[in-house]
Symmetry: C2
Subunit: 360 residues, 2 copies
DNA sequence: CTTAGCACTCTTTCCTTCTGAGTGCCAATA
DNA sequence: TATTGGCACTCAGAAGGAAAGAGTGCTAAG
């Protein structure tokens, strides 16, 4: 049951139109397209056929057609045309990408905001650890008597810190010693490799700073066990800009109750190992609450066992082509930034310049 | 034009009822209250009077009354009864406050989430710097050849870090030297006190690591100039749970377009120096878009020149008493945590146990 | 195989009517 | 004089239709 070229053309047209109007598409609307050479009656017949095949749906008898989830899937997999960013868009994007030099976490959060702004949809970012984490470096800094900051550097260039308040008094000298011991014995070990005997051993070598050791160990283990960085979800409210949520506040609320941080951290796992982009369309999604909601995710490489994911949440009717293009641009640039270096400022890559642009 | 006791009683009743029902309050509803000893006709007369004074409003001729912004203001300033958290609530709150030991920034974000969950409204947290920031400690850690992490500790126990990628090769030894130089000459200086000659001086002493110096300086200055930490705004969607926004997605969207991060960072500044809590009611707010929206903010002390703010965003009709109580509980505990120490785990303070509890 | 035409369906919109909550005012009452 | 019961009046919102319009499926002709 392969589709004929004409059927493909019609399906594509329906998705394209529906994506931008959010209204069911009638046969006349398609017949009116410049490169459609057949009549609305023919289109009606084909549409009946496509509906039969489960690629289209009819909200009610006398309405036009909308794509079914299967229809979207086919569109995404086979019919979608590469959306080319217009010159204007690339310019805006690369300006936006000139992230203020910042810490990693802040940058991820900023990227999320940018993506959300550019797509006018909710967006999120996560950093996921690919390989087992190990500690790379310990640092103990006294800020006031009894107040110590532990700075812990992990693989993946992740830096964590924690304020430790201490009942006993410790001198600067003793702190230095403890830091040295930690760096000597606790680095380059995975969480599993750190056993109980190590705690004792370190405590013995730590002298007066020994009471600090369990606190440090706890925090270290906690950090090592953390599989992913913070989830930065922003622009939730933009979902309300979409017609399907405009008067369905409840639905929008449900979406984010389901799509909480936990869920979002798990999503990157479904990304296929090879492809950098993944579409979760409607009911393919795990939860029923997300029936009309889709997620587009894209992965980029951070290096050193870490991997970033940017995602966009929107109605199932969303402009997959455009969003994929935009996400792709971000992912490419971010990947470049992390790989090649340069101090966290984006390059402007050569991109094919723009064609059609219908604003979402 | 002082209010009589009876007028006060009526105004208070109207606010109390309206807050929980979100419906205009009629004279009968008030007359039905157990401790109201006069008839609905009398109440009607008083209500007409209060309306005259601008404390009440009438959505339309044949509807009940709702408090005007001035009415809320008077309620908050004079009429509001202390809401006592019930035992159940304090238990839930103190369980919630057992924050996972974490870095400061994460904790602030977690607090925001908790507050939002407890109040069922959007909430935010910010840390604001009260005094001029200075650097306390520098640390340079090589993670790979050409890849260096700068860890910078500021006053207020704030830790920042940044990945520096370096074109030239630098040895561990040279990095140590540079760190020592930085710690000797760049600490305890405010942004203003760091001048151009310092850059040169440090570069000269830095030897082979000299190319790093401007990068470090830039980042340092950037951090020192930062007046506040990240804003953590969460639970925006909960605003939709409120009847006034239920079918007014647009309005909800506008609220957060206006109340963006920039705005939120500025809000704590309006907090009076003495009181720890501040109410922004409807039109008192800066922007017209926030007409029906109010913000309750509470400050808590972090120590070392830093100050935290937690805030809740909601409809002007919100349960100020209850929200103040809950925020107060958080603020108190957080203050305690930061002041006294203990490793970032909340104590359960003795609180008067509960009375009335109408769920919002 | 395609197309024009037409009857039919069903949503959406616009009116109209109706209901009920709540008011303001007046006259009676304590 | 302050309070109260009573009553006419107002107005938003619900409920019920009627009309409009978009789009379909089917049939018969090209």
């Amino acid at each position: 049951m392969e589709l004929t070229d004409r059927q493909k053309q019609i399906l594509r047209a329906i998705v394209d139109i529906y994506v931008s109007t959010a209204e069911p598409v009638g046969s006349k609307a398609i017949a009116a397209l410049p490169d459609v050479k057949f009549s609305s009656a023919t289109i009606r017949n084909e549409m009946a056929e496509l509906t039969q095949m489960g690629l289209l749906e009819q909200p009610h008898t006398s309405a036009g057609r909308i794509p079914s989830p299967a229809g979207y899937r086919l569109y995404i997999d086979e019919l979608m045309q590469d959306y080319r960013l217009s010159l204007d868009e690339t310019r805006t994007l690369s300006e936006a990408l000139e992230l203020k030099s910042q810490e990693f976490d802040r940058m991820m959060s900023q990227v999320g905001k940018l993506v959300s702004k550019m797509t006018n949809l909710p967006a999120y970012t996560v950093a996921t650890r690919q390989s087992e984490a190990v500690a790379r470096h310990f640092d103990l800094i006294m800020t006031a008597p009894g107040s110590i900051i532990l700075v812990l550097m992990l693989s993946g260039d992740v830096v964590k810190n924690k304020l430790l308040k201490l009942p006993v008094h410790v001198t600067e000298q003793e702190l230095k010693l403890l830091a040295a011991v930690l760096n000597a014995s606790l680095t380059d070990l995975t969480a599993e490799e750190i056993g109980g005997d190590l705690l004792e051993k370190i405590s013995r070598s730590a002298g007066a700073a020994a009471p600090l050791v369990p606190l440090v160990m706890d925090f270290t283990l906690e950090c090592l066990r953390q599989q992913h960085g913070d989830v930065h979800l922003t622009g939730q409210m933009r979902l309300l800009g979409q017609p399907e949520y405009r008067d369905a506040a409840e639905k929008a609320q449900e979406v984010f109750e389901t799509l909480d941080e936990e869920m979002l951290t798990k999503l990157p796992a479904v990304l296929p190992k090879d492809g950098p982009v993944q579409f979760l369309v409607g009911p393919e999604n795990v939860a029923r609450e997300l029936k009309d909601t889709s997620v587009v995710m894209m992965r980029f490489d951070i290096g050193d066992g870490m991997q970033g994911t940017i995602g966009v949440v929107g109605p199932t009717r969303m402009d997959y082509a455009k969003i994929t293009a935009k996400l792709g641009y971000f992912a490419e640039n971010l990947g470049r930034m992390f790989q090649k270096g340069g101090n966290a400022t984006a390059q402007t890559p050569a991109l094919p310049d723009g064609a059609k642009d219908t604003d979402s």
